[in-house]
């Protein structure tokens, strides 16, 4: 009997290894414990015939559940998608990107002048930058809410990414000037291009990694990294170091919106069967 148990246990353990790692990690032990119970019951009630019946029952269950779990994995795991992010979503996403910078700029300047401040002063930027971030990320959240239940994750992760970028910039300036005594001011065009290239990669990666984290579980989220790097590089190439017109203002928001929007078309496009909240759907 011990030999039979060991053989069946070993076979079942080997079978469990074929499930996707996440599934196996979460439920493997429980499935094995259940198998042991089923094995004992079958053996005690019907002997070897019971064992044959048990395996006849388990094999189709194993094959169907194995296929199902790999299908979920292939579709990017289980994620909650309210609606596909389609061309209409992309249009809204880009329109907000175009509008948010100039609108926030004029609103913040109006607020500064309303309270008697000078719009040319540093104070104006202290009002403008936080307002821009809140408007930009907030408007993205408003759109994403229609497409995913993880829109709040996007909000918090993009905000954290911006905080990390700002802190990284401060840390870089403090270390380069006070510790390394580097002179970062340069008129050399090729040096400026190298600095902007490095900035695009660092900042784009930070934003992309946090946005990837926000929509974890969805397929193709890695696209946010190149999308953000390209959009920042495009901003640097287009505005040539300074914002000199209303068109420049619009372009600053347009590039991130366009490239992250294109990435979203590939991220928020597949629907799994696991979204049905009905019990019958769960047990299907």
């Amino acid at each position: 009997m011990t030999k039979n148990i060991s053989l069946s246990e070993n076979i079942y353990k080997s079978i469990l290894q074929l499930y996707p790692p996440n599934y196996r990690k979460e439920f493997g032990e429980q499935m094995y414990l259940d198998f042991q119970d089923m094995y004992k019951d079958a053996k005690m009630s019907e002997g070897d015939n019971g064992l044959i019946k048990l395996w006849i029952k388990l094999i189709p269950d194993f094959i169907s559940s194995l296929i199902r779990e790999y299908m979920y994995e292939k579709k990017g795991g289980e994620y909650i998608l309210k609606k596909e992010f389609d061309t209409l979503g992309l249009i809204f996403w880009v329109l907000i990107g175009i509008a948010v910078f100039p609108v926030t700029y004029f609103v913040s300047m109006y607020l500064v002048s309303l309270f008697g401040g000078n719009i040319e002063s540093q104070i104006a930027w202290v009002v403008f930058i936080p307002l821009l971030l809140v408007s930009f990320i907030g408007s993205q959240w408003l759109i994403l809410r229609k497409y995913t239940k993880k829109a709040k994750n996007w909000l918090t992760n993009t905000f954290i990414a911006w905080v990390v970028m700002i802190l990284t910039t401060f840390a870089f300036f403090i270390v380069s000037q006070n510790v390394l005594s580097l002179d970062l001011a340069t008129d050399n065009q090729s040096q400026i291009m190298v600095i902007q290239f490095v900035q695009s990669i660092i900042y784009g990666s930070i934003l992309g990694i946090f946005q990837k984290r926000a929509l974890v579980g969805y397929p193709n989220t890695w696209l946010f990294v190149p999308a953000n790097i390209i959009s920042l590089a495009m901003i640097f190439i287009t505005i040539q170091g300074s914002i000199s017109s209303n068109v420049d203002m619009m372009l600053i928001g347009t590039y991130p919106a366009l490239f992250t929007g294109l990435a979203l078309l590939f991220v928020l496009r597949k629907r799994t069967k696991g979204n049905n909240s009905k019990m019958s759907g769960m047990l299907a």
Binding site: Y23, Q30, K57, L58, N275, M282
Partner: protein, 85 residues
């Protein structure tokens, strides 16, 4: 699994793969949560959440309506295919 089989008089049989696939989806949807049982720490136990209870009630109500409809149409328990629906 044994309980499901017993309650359904052997009509519904499920293996561990089907059971834990369903549990996984119900957990993800917030219909059930895992609860500790000090008497058996190796085993995982689950209980219905409020959302799960609400969904279950809605689903039972839906089944009840189907059964009532079948009763009203006098098709419940009929084996013949010649139904006038």
């Amino acid at each position: 699994m044994k309980q499901v089989e017993k309650d359904s008089h052997g009509n519904i049989q499920m293996g561990p793969g089907t059971l834990y696939g369903s549990i996984k989806r119900m957990l993800k949807s917030g219909l059930i949560i895992e609860v500790k049982n000090p008497e058996d720490e190796r085993r995982k136990f689950y209980k219905l959440t409020k959302k799960g209870q609400k969904n279950l009630s809605a689903e039972l109500k839906r089944f009840e309506e189907i059964v009532n409809l079948a009763k009203n149409k006098k098709i419940l328990g009929l084996n013949s295919l010649s139904l006038n629906i």
